[in-house]
Symmetry: C2
Subunit: 198 residues, 2 copies
């Protein structure tokens, strides 16, 4: 038995975090109680706030606490480029790694009929309406290079062409700093086939 | 830039958890928002509650939301045995691993004069008063086998003897399932020196 029911409940609640098991949850709870109660209190407030108030942007479907997110409202971003990603984490990765200054569209999934994810669930009607506005000239397709991601990319390229928008796709090949010897066959074959003149 | 200020604040707040960096914090925030808002809300409530209400038991100094913790109040535990540990996590480990049915006393540290941790900070006046009550007959010393833990154990043994209480200490030696070849020299030498008749 434990000395505190509330502590047991906190440890149980912490296990909803990904990758956190019983032992880690206990370590986290003890750490906060022993050394960082202010941090714990701040986390409790922010967490409650975020779960309550964060929804999805009506324009790009990314996380947002307002109807239209800060990025969509930002007039200094280029309106001609629209980058389509599967998940909010992909958007964050591109935003952090590249100097891209255009807008995003988040599918919140990938085409997967068996899971009941069709064009409607991915908000492709919203995307079509956006392309029909006529401002976007390039649709940058940044879905994952998986089977479902490729199928989604293929579909998105068709949608773009229907609206007279140029579709483009992230380059696939050997990662920087990778060694040919250790790269998987599929990637190597693709990189070899898509070699560029220098 | 990000699509949501509140999301950025949540990610920052999550970093107060031990072992959670920027990347993990982002993954946790996205996971909760995408898949487990109920879990996130429950965590927010429990966390706020725990930070506010959990203090230390007045009898054993372990975490407790009441003045005296559930374990100290439990009349079915044996009052003759008192096990002294450094931290609440040590108490939890002993409680989970062993069939111990006595009571605990938590030092919330170890003797370390350089860090300003003396007998007073470890609540040894409280421990002395407890031993003076006369119910305890065995003081099980379960401090860590570090230099400071050993010094603390030595001191605790003296306190116990002053009150006519028998001090005992966890056995040190080769861990079960360990291989002699890979055990550190200190442990092996100790185990060899403390060999028992069979």
């Amino acid at each position: 038995m434990s000395s505190s029911t509330l502590l047991d409940e906190l440890i149980e609640a912490l296990r909803c975090l990904p990758g956190v098991g019983a032992k880690t949850a206990q370590r986290m709870a003890h750490h906060l109680l022993e050394r960082n109660r202010d941090g714990g209190r701040r986390l409790a407030t922010k967490l409650g706030d975020a779960m309550q108030r964060i929804g999805n942007c009506q324009r790009c479907r990314n996380f947002s606490e307002s109807e239209v997110c800060a990025l969509c409202r930002n007039a200094s971003r280029e309106a001609q480029q629209l980058c389509v990603v599967e998940m909010p984490a992909d958007q964050a990765a591109i935003e952090q790694a590249t100097g891209y200054r255009g807008h995003y569209f988040v599918l919140l999934g990938r085409l997967s009929p068996l899971d009941g994810l069709g064009p409607k669930e991915l908000g492709l009607d919203l995307l079509s309406a956006r392309l029909a506005e006529g401002e976007v000239t390039e649709l940058i397709i940044a879905t994952n290079p998986t089977v479902e991601g490729e199928a989604t990319a293929h579909y998105l390229a068709q949608v773009a062409r229907q609206h007279g928008v140029r579709p483009s796709r992230l380059a696939h090949g050997v990662p920087l700093g990778g060694e040919l010897e250790y790269i998987d066959r599929g990637t190597l074959a693709h990189a070899f086939g898509s070699r560029l003149d220098v």
